[in-house]
């Protein structure tokens, strides 16, 4: 039965997913197992997105289903939840002067389902906030997102601030979104440009040394 939840979630069967979760909770099953199955289901969603079978609507919908499952399960959780082992830390955010986050959230989703510990700083992130977070987490990878042209300079300034803080050589920086490309990567002196969320995942894997 546990396999059912994985596939029902991956297939985005809302009614059946919620029905099954309720049934399993009523049967007194350990809530943590339900959450583990949900994570496996989400991994399949991420895989289907990477394969071009799913698109943004499916990611959004699956995220909503996961939220509903978590809300149902939460009251039944006792003790501390065991954390699944994560591959490594990645800090991401949309640079200062830019308030777009659709792409940012896709990258967040894909890094997460691929096993990374993601610190998402949100939009219009000041240079100092990136520096502070990189210091605090010691994350080896930073992802800068931007949609519009003001992001060109904001990315450049963010990279420069990290250089100034003496952190630059401890990390790899990837950029992506809207009008970003290899030209902007050169301009901002980042390490790589990724054209989509799958590129972000493979860059992070490459840099963090997992495959």
């Amino acid at each position: 039965m546990s396999g059912d939840l994985v596939n029902l979630l991956a297939d985005l069967k809302e009614g059946e997913v919620m029905g099954l979760v309720k049934q399993r909770l009523d049967a007194g099953e350990e809530p943590i197992k339900i959450l583990e199955d949900s994570r496996k289901g989400m991994e399949i969603v991420g895989q289907r997105f990477a394969d071009g079978e799913y698109f943004l609507p499916e990611l959004v919908y699956s995220g909503e289903l996961l939220k509903q499952v978590t809300e149902m399960v939460k009251p039944h959780l006792t003790g501390s939840a065991t954390r699944t082992k994560r591959l490594g830390k990645v800090v991401i955010g949309t640079v200062a002067g830019d308030i777009h986050d659709i792409g940012l959230n896709i990258v967040d989703f894909m890094l997460d389902v691929n096993g990374f510990e993601v610190y998402n700083l949100g939009v219009d992130v000041p240079v100092e906030a990136f520096v502070a977070k990189m210091k605090e987490t010691g994350a080896p990878v930073l992802g800068l997102s931007g949609f519009l042209t003001p992001a060109f300079d904001a990315m450049k300034e963010t990279v420069e601030a990290l250089e100034k803080a003496g952190l630059r050589d401890k990390m790899k920086i990837m950029i992506g979104g809207g009008q970003m490309d290899d030209e902007v990567k050169k301009y901002a002196r980042a390490d790589a440009y990724g054209k989509d969320a799958m590129a972000a995942v493979s860059l992070a894997k490459q840099w963090i040394g997992a495959s």
């Binding site: 042209t149 003001p150 030209e183 301009y187």
Partner: protein, 444 residues
């Protein structure tokens, strides 16, 4: 006897509109040379839009807020200081040199009007964004709740006035409490009472203030456009329209909301888009002036590659967009469909539109493939990368233009343009685009 407008075929209507664009009423050209140049430029654009060979490839310079920065000021300033707005755009007009079309400052909104109504849908420099930001940006949100589809479908005007507008304009909050206008019937007994309430009066005061401010702004924008016309530079965009999916997805339900709706309430979503479609068409048609360019720009957002599958595009995005497009085409308008992001996976769907009816303005789409699929069928516009225009050298820009012209130019139906617009950068990169059009874009 001349045929009445309604009796004309779409082609005849378009020819008539093109004729008016070529000989605009109310324009006294500054010189015979300016008039000649104007007619040459408009003819060049018309031939490209009709997928024919003009004398050479026309070029649209991708300079949205660029004139502000070129003139040493910034977006924040020109949103509030209309003298500076005018100075900047005229300086750009006079100094940038030859260009095939000129964009007036119509996309720079009057800051004080937005403040008067406490506009929440956008952030702009000094108002939610750092003062030196070069663009204004939309604040994504759920401005229409999932359970409000029926309100919108039943009576869009009432939904807009009393539910949507109070959410995006803080000053309109009291309008929630006025009755729908359709309740005003027969002798007005109670009808005006709500308008006597102090908070409702304050809402209307705010609206009046925004109106007064906008009028001042519009006069200045008009002066700039008029001067450009008199000097022989035609405008190319008379109005904007959106795909009904984007209307709902951008500023009503939000990206998150509309994508949930595709699964949870697809029938309501379809019904709402159908309801919005005729409103979009009417709004676009009413923005075309008697002798302005018969062109409606349609920025397309959430149907781009990656945002949805081909099947979802064909189910949710394309049908109502096509209705809007074809209604405009049938009125003799040329829609320029500006596909933001990339549209590589849409080419085989969008190719079904009638020959030479629309122009496709591509941002990051592969132009060689676009030419292969749409060449001879639709005018193609684009797409020098924005990053190159902002950070590259004039030589690099010119070289990129040469390659684009080689790919897209043959047979006509091509306009050289940027992928998106730039706000800052080297003005010589814009001049390099014009040079490239003249040097490599001549049809023999």
């Amino acid at each position: 006897m001349e045929k009445q407008w309604a009796e004309l075929t779409p082609d005849e209507k378009r020819e008539e509109r093109f004729k008016r664009w070529l000989s605009p009423r109310g324009v006294t050209f500054s010189s015979p040379e300016a008039e000649k140049a104007y007619k040459e430029r408009v003819t060049r654009l018309i031939r490209a839009l009709k997928v024919q060979e003009p004398d050479r490839v026309p070029c649209i310079l991708p300079a949205s807020n660029f004139p502000a920065y070129y003139a040493g000021t910034d977006l924040r300033t020109v949103m509030y200081d209309y003298d500076e707005l005018k100075r900047a755009w005229l300086k750009f007009l006079h100094e940038i040199g030859d260009q095939d079309t000129f964009f007036g400052p119509v996309m720079v909104p009057p800051g004080r009007a937005l403040e008067a109504v406490d506009y929440k849908l956008y952030k702009w420099p000094g108002h939610g964004l750092a003062g030196n930001t070069t663009t204004y940006q939309c604040v994504e949100g759920e401005y229409m709740k999932a359970d409000e589809y029926d309100d919108l479908i039943k009576d869009p005007s009432n939904f807009w006035l009393r539910i949507y507008l109070p959410r995006v304009f803080g000053a309109f909050e009291p309008l929630r409490n006025i009755p729908p206008f359709t309740t005003i019937e027969e002798i007005a007994i109670m009808s005006f009472v709500p308008y006597g309430l102090p908070d409702v009066q304050a809402a209307f005061e705010a609206l009046l203030k925004a109106g007064r401010e906008s009028l001042k702004w519009a006069a200045v924008v008009g002066e700039v456009s008029q001067e450009a016309l008199e000097l022989g530079f035609p405008g190319i965009m008379s109005g904007l329209a959106k795909a009904p999916f984007d209307t709902l997805g951008d500023t009503l339900r939000g990206t998150q909301g509309i994508m949930m709706d595709m699964f949870q309430r697809p029938a309501k979503l379809q019904e709402a888009m159908e309801r919005i479609t005729p409103l979009t068409i009417d709004s676009a048609l009413s923005s075309i002036g008697p002798s302005s360019a018969p062109i409606i720009m349609m920025p397309l957002h959430k149907g781009a590659d990656g945002f949805m599958s081909e099947k979802q595009y064909e189910t949710f995005y394309w049908p109502t967009l096509k209705k809007v497009v074809m209604s405009l085409v049938n009125e003799g308008i040329v829609p320029i469909l500006f596909a933001e992001g990339s549209y590589n996976r849409r080419l085989d769907i969008i190719k079904e539109l009638p020959k030479a009816s629309v122009a496709w303005y591509f941002d990051q789409t592969d132009m060689a493939r676009a030419k292969e699929v749409l060449g001879g069928k639709a005018c193609l516009i684009g797409n020098v990368p924005t990053s190159l225009i902002m950070t590259g050298t004039p030589q690099q820009v010119k070289e990129h233009c040469r390659k684009l012209i080689e790919v897209c130019g043959p047979g006509g139906g091509y306009v050289l343009a940027g992928g998106a617009n730039i706000d800052e950068g080297n003005p010589d990169n814009l001049r390099a685009m014009m040079e490239a059009a003249k040097e490599y874009g001549v049809y023999k």
